[in-house]
Amino acid sequence: MASSKFPLAPPEHSRPHAPMGEGCFLGETERQQPLALKEALAKIKNWFRANSLWVMAYGTGCGSIELRPLTTARFDMERFGMAMRPTPRQSNVLIISGYLSVKSLKRVIRAYEQMPSPKWVVGLGSCTINGGMYWDSYNTINRLDLYVPVDLYIAGCMPRPEALLEGFGVLMEKIKAGEANGWNHYLEQMDWYKENQKKLITDWDLPDYNW
């Protein structure tokens, strides 16, 4: 599986059919670099990443109502290098703004997989943690982390824009420290995620991975 160009073996439990070839997005190119340089580069990279969070404009639930004040003049998230992007291809932050119906979850998985790495998922509100007020609904999931890797939870129903800003502050710190690695986890545990997704989405008609 590992080509000579990518000496790093694929992580354990990785999806056997995950393409690891040239040009693949997975290719976090690992060259034989001095350790110190590698660390320094990683730090610089993470600093840039943390300060240019591009958020995908997908209002999946109620919580997105507080994204509008956040993007406009009063709370103005562009001050912090964050911007809304209309397409997954340009985004690296996916905000799951609350509950997800099964129908939405399908689209969310697809959108998430289309986002280029590194990417982070932020769960807003009770619903993403344990189902929130729709805990007994037949149509909403109770735990978001079963289906996509969640890097940060912001509690509230729904969290106010100020809480979101604080939350993004936490996310930025985690990114700078190199601790927000949900996207890696998703790849490493792909089998587990896919199993959960397919267990719930009975009419699975998606490709196994959306590039």
Binding site: A73, R74, F75, D76, R79, G123, S126, T128, I129, N130, G131, G132, M133, W135, D136, R143, D145, V150, D151, L152, Y153, I154, A155, G156, C157, P159, R160, E162, A163, L165, E166, G167, V170, L171, K174, E179, A180
Partner: protein
């Protein structure tokens, strides 16, 4: 399209110099509004662990978790909030019967771990614990009903003219409304000495199933109609609704349900194993504890004989409680139930020491519940004068249907229920009544409602009055001399004691001085070899956790055993003995 429409939008540029809308980043997030609904806070000292917050939460976000040992009036449970469920609707705060739960105005909490968003407010330390602002319980908006359905009563003027029951009782509709106030917390169950299934029968009454309510009531109380009328109601004193409003009228609801049915044997269908088939039990004393033992053993096949010194069973509930509170018909209904269960009664028969010894030999078990029959003496000079009478004697004579003459003016010494009963009876006998009590009205052991009723009926209460002596006057009356007292707080937390103010004497000329200062055990008739084993220094009887005394096979209960001396505790003692006797019988079967 005119030029205007091309130019007008550019006016927006003028805003470049105006004050920006943007909230500054410095100084952290804006504080929430004064009544913002943020993270929960809980005053755990005030919280009673009733779980109403958890019950009203539509998201099942609140778990009750044990944090402390349960005590009467506090389950020891505290709410733990799951912020993966909470929707910040604050119904939990608005419903909180103790008013302990609140919300701070803090709202920021972000974490990478989904499992951290749970805590017990007030127990797990949080930065917002001391938050002054935030959503709180507010008077004027209650989600539970604080107001009890008022009980109909005879008019006070009318009452003194009749022996009819003062309390009229709830109508069906009133009972349903009152029952619907219950929040099903169960604190009352712990407070009730017999641990009656209070929320369950209230629920049955609320749902309109009175027969079920009666079955639940009789499940662990064989004299509930009596309790429904005269119980001391520890349950109501811990009722969670009672913290901020009127407690549920648990007694009146029990009264309502039990009064609904005349033939109890038909309604109650005990489903028990007749483990006592072929065994005999003697019960000495037909009071609440004895009758409880008799009923629950009889339905289990035991052959039970109740020995009673008076011509009627009921014990203190017969001779000690005036008929206007507990009519004879109610008592007879209970006795009928016992008879239908096969209990035998030997009336007008006082058991003596030899007979007790014989009974112990002849029966599988003997239960003794003879109560406190000896009135405490005043021990003031003049107590032997004719006209100074113990209240118990007066009550007994009255209840036995004998003529009682109290004259025109009476002073009753004491502040317990007996004193109140004696006063109210005297009122009905046409006398002017004064109660002389050593302490304050709040210290009176008598039921608050009873005190109010007595006052409504024209009984005058003189407090902090210490009896000094009784003297005979020349015209054949009695001069009751008393001195005023001051209340001294000797120890923190204990009730203050009265201390005589020397040198002042007040006189009250009356026809009768009725002494109701308390009563003690009268066990002189016990054989010494038994009394030595079972009595403690105060002359009361000691039993183990099965209700048995140090004498094998001799069980005891009631006022003789417990230190609260009320009917429901006696019933609880009876139940304990039932358990003990049944368990022992079962063990013998094996």
């Amino acid at each position: 399209m005119s030029l205007k429409y091309t130019i007008a939008p550019f006016s927006a540029w003028l805003q470049a110099v105006s004050k920006p809308f943007t909230v500054p980043v410095t100084g952290g997030p804006r504080p929430g509004a004064p009544r913002y609904r943020g993270w929960h806070i809980n005053d755990v000292e005030k919280c009673i662990g009733c779980g109403t917050c958890s019950a009203i939460c539509q998201n099942e976000a609140i778990d009750m978790v044990p944090v402390d040992d349960p005590v009467v009036g506090d389950s020891g449970l505290r709410p733990k909030i799951d912020y993966g469920r909470c929707c910040w609707c604050a119904l939990c705060v608005d419903v909180c019967p103790s008013g302990s739960l609140g919300m701070s105005n803090e709202y920021v909490w972000a974490d990478t771990d989904a499992d951290v968003f749970r805590y017990i407010p007030g127990v797990d330390e949080k930065p917002w614990d001391d938050s002054e602002l935030g959503w709180r319980r507010e008077e004027g908006f209650e989600l539970v009903d604080h107001d009890r359905v008022p009980m109909g009563m005879l008019d006070p003027d009318e009452r003194t003219q009749t022996w009819a029951e003062v309390v009229i009782g709830y109508t069906e509709e009133q009972a349903r409304v009152e029952a619907s106030r219950c929040v099903d917390c169960g604190l009352c169950v712990a407070a009730c000495p017999a641990h009656m299934h209070i929320p369950d029968y209230i629920g049955a009454i609320r749902d309109g199933d009175d027969a079920r309510a009666v079955q639940i009531i009789y499940d662990n109380n064989a004299m509930p109609e009596m309790c429904g009328k005269v119980c001391t109601r520890r349950c109501e004193s811990v009722c969670s609704i009672g913290v901020q409003g009127d407690p549920l009228a648990i007694r009146w609801l029990k009264r309502y349900a039990t009064e609904r049915f005349d033939n109890l044997a038909e309604v109650l269908q005990p489903q028990v194993e007749r483990v006592g088939e072929g065994r005999t039990v003697a019960v000495i004393g037909g009071g609440p504890s004895g009758l409880t033992v008799a009923y629950y053993l009889a339905i289990r096949g035991f052959e039970v004989t109740v020995h009673e010194a008076l011509p009627q069973v009921g014990g203190a509930t017969f001779f000690g409680i005036p008929r206007y509170r507990f009519p004879m018909s109610s008592l007879e209904k209970q006795v009928d139930l016992l008879k239908s269960a096969g209990v035998k009664f030997v009336l007008n028969h006082r058991v003596d020491g030899d007979e007790l010894t014989r009974m112990l030999a002849e029966n599988d078990a003997v239960f003794m519940g003879v109560g406190l029959m000896k009135p405490m003496a005043l021990r003031a000079p003049g107590e032997d004068l004719p006209g100074v009478i113990p209240a118990l004697d007066m009550l007994r004579e009255q209840n036995l249907g004998h003529e009682v003459d109290v004259g025109e003016k009476v002073v009753v010494v004491g502040g317990g229920n007996v004193a109140i009963d004696a006063s109210r009876i005297s009122r009905r006998l046409g006398a002017e009544v004064t109660i002389a009590y050593r302490r304050r009205v709040v210290d009176m052991p008598a039921d608050d409602e009873e005190i109010e009723d007595a006052e409504a009926e024209g009984v005058e209460i003189v407090t902090q009055a210490i009896p000094l002596r009784v003297e005979a006057t020349e015209d054949g009356k009695l001069d009751f001399v008393w001195g005023p007292a001051e209340m001294v707080q000797e120890e923190e937390g204990k009730r203050p004691r009265p201390k005589l103010i020397e040198g002042v004497e007040n006189h009250l000329v009356v026809d009768r001085v009725i002494v109701a200062i308390g009563q003690g055990p009268d066990l002189d008739w016990l054989p010494t070899e038994i009394s030595e084993k079972i009595c403690n220094k105060w002359g009361y009887i000691e039993v183990d956790e099965t209700g048995m005394t140090a004498v094998e096979g001799l069980y005891a209960g009631g006022d003789l055993v417990n230190d609260t001396a009320d009917a429901i505790s006696a019933i609880a003692d009876g139940l304990r003995a039932v358990n003990g006797i049944v368990d022992k019988t079962r063990a013998q079967h094996v």
